[in-house]
Amino acid sequence: MASRELESMYQQVILDHAKQKHGFGLRDGASGSSHQINPTCGDEVTLRVHRASDGSIESISWEGQGCSISTASASVLNDLVHELSDAEATARIQAFRELMQSKGAIEGDEELLGDAVALGGVSRYVTRIKCAMLPWVAFEAALAS
């Protein structure tokens, strides 16, 4: 019914995240926000960063319209950011970017990337990498804003 490659891109954990959308729903009180669009398909995400009193990242909140890959990617990102410093967050973004650019060559560090390693299969599909990156790019911009 579907190839192994397709099954590896759409792992059950990804399809579950795409449905459950952890962190979905924008909340007030953000320290920074970013709106990103993928001009080739019109997918979009708005992502906000919420900080604790010590300046660390408390959580993100997001909304958007997109495919299961971009939606799941935002959901897994939500689960990874709690209590991170900006430097730690930036390291995770960098690790995820490397995973996406790996063309399937690396598996991804589960310690660092949690469920996001399940998105590793996307890296074999050059047309879909942007989908997975969309919320991470928004996160990166929201941290800086």
Partner: protein
């Protein structure tokens, strides 16, 4: 009797198989499956006859045209101009009414920039009818491809004219009642698509042209999705300008056509200027050639133009009327199949209504990208996204659709494979 049957029913299966054997790419596999190419609305595949003509040109005749006196220059110029005559004949136009462009997008920009140049004072009295300013209106429809929308938005910004839009009904048809209200004494240009690249309906060219001409407005027809798929007679349609792209009709990329009524083209100031489009060049000003050459600055796309002529010869030999009928059958089969799947909504004309061989659709609970990825896994190529037409998607409350679009080489079996894969995608993504 046989011929009459063929005319009524379009192509038959055996003929389509013969046609398919002319397209080398249709023999390849994708992800372990035979390629099912249903993205002809984006760009068509190319038959050997077209590829061979372009190769032969480079192997035997290659030279710059309309300059030089050597033998190759003469032969290349003859082929280039013969191609213009062939393409003119294919769309019911005069040779001097066919301007080569890179694609339809450049053609529309050529008109828009010619009009802006007029508005800045170029072109003299002859160009008066192209002059735009505050109080003038440009009219488009809500279903336009970005190529027939953004250049008009920009022209409006540059000239102070106002852009107005004719809306659609719920089946995606252009609302003629609204058109009659929008098009009025201040309308200077009415630009619209012959066939929507998203909805697949054939738009009412005669009615819109009559409304425009009644108020003295110019009609610009985007024929990108009609020239490849149905018989086109631009003189009979009475439009003032039309554009289409070669790569959607079996020809290479990099070649397109702007049609303009002869008297209009000869009054419109040039867009791109430079070599080859002039008569006399002084140090501070120059005089231009008549149309079409005044719009063809710089070294031209010779191989592509010749290959486009080979493409329309190929289409003409099959017969555009028969291609149209074949694709209408494909479109019916596609829409019937898709509407039979629970949770699938087809945009545009309802099942049974007239449409060309394409359909854009939404699968509830499965994003278009995911549908497309699932189909690609089976070697089925479809377009996903907004198809360069965001406003019409917004009109129907979606950001992205999946579009399957066939051509003369598409078989009913391929349509069935695509429909089955769409049904299966729902199971894969867990919405059933």
């Amino acid at each position: 009797m046989t011929i009459e049957t063929n005319i009524r029913t379009g192509l038959d299966g055996a003929e389509v198989e013969r046609i398919r054997s002319d397209f080398p790419i249709l023999g390849r596999t994708v992800n372990g499956h035979p390629l099912v190419y249903l993205d002809s609305g984006a760009t068509s595949q190319k038959p050997r006859q077209v590829i061979d003509v372009e190769r032969a040109y480079y192997e035997t005749t290659n030279s710059a045209v309309h300059r030089g006196a050597h033998t190759l220059a003469g032969e290349a110029t003859e082929l280039f101009e013969a191609a213009r005559a062939t393409v003119a004949g294919f769309v019911g136009a005069g040779e001097d009414e066919i301007v080569w462009t890179s694609n339809a997008t450049e053609g529309i920009n050529l008109i828009a920039y010619g009009m802006s140049n007029t508005s800045l004072g170029r072109g003299g009295a002859a160009a008066e009818r192209f002059r735009l300013g505050a109080g003038d209106e440009i009219v488009v429809t809500e279903l336009e491809h970005h190529a027939n929308l953004v250049p008009w938005q920009e022209l409006a910004f540059r000239t102070g004219a106002t852009l107005r839009v004719i809306g659609l009904d719920d089946d995606g048809a252009i609302r003629l009642d609204e058109a009659a209200e929008v098009i009025g004494e201040t309308t200077r240009v009415v630009a619209f698509s012959h066939v929507s690249n998203v909805l697949g309906a054939v738009n009412p060219v005669a009615e819109l042209t009559a409304l425009a001409h009644a108020v003295g407005a110019l009609v610009v027809l985007d024929a990108c999705q009609s020239a490849p798929h149905l018989p086109l007679d631009l003189h009979a349609l009475e439009v003032d300008f039309a554009v289409f792209s070669g790569h959607k009709m079996l020809a290479p990329t990099g070649i397109g056509v702007l049609y303009g009524r002869s008297e209009l083209l000869n009054a419109l100031p040039p867009f791109l200027t430079g070599g080859s489009m002039i008569t006399t060049v002084g140090l501070t000003e120059s005089e231009f050639l008549p149309a079409p050459l005044r719009f063809e600055a710089g070294t031209q796309r010779v191989s592509q133009a010749i290959a486009l002529a080979a493409a329309v010869d190929y289409l003409g030999a099959v017969g555009m009327d028969r291609i149209e009928l074949w694709e209408a059958e494909l479109g019916r089969r596609l829409v019937d199949g898709l509407t039979g799947i629970p949770g699938v909504r087809v945009l545009g004309p309802a099942a049974g209504a007239e449409r060309v061989g394409l359909a854009s659709f939404v699968v509830d609970g499965v994003h278009a990208h995911d549908v497309g990825q699932f189909l690609d896994d089976r070697g089925i190529a479809v377009r996903v996204g907004h198809h360069c037409a965001q406003p019409v998607h917004r009109r129907f409350g979606v950001t992205a659709t999946t579009r399957a679009s066939g051509y003369l080489y598409t078989t009913p079996d391929e349509i069935d494979l695509a429909v089955q894969a769409v049904a299966d995608s729902r199971r894969f993504f867990g919405v059933v």
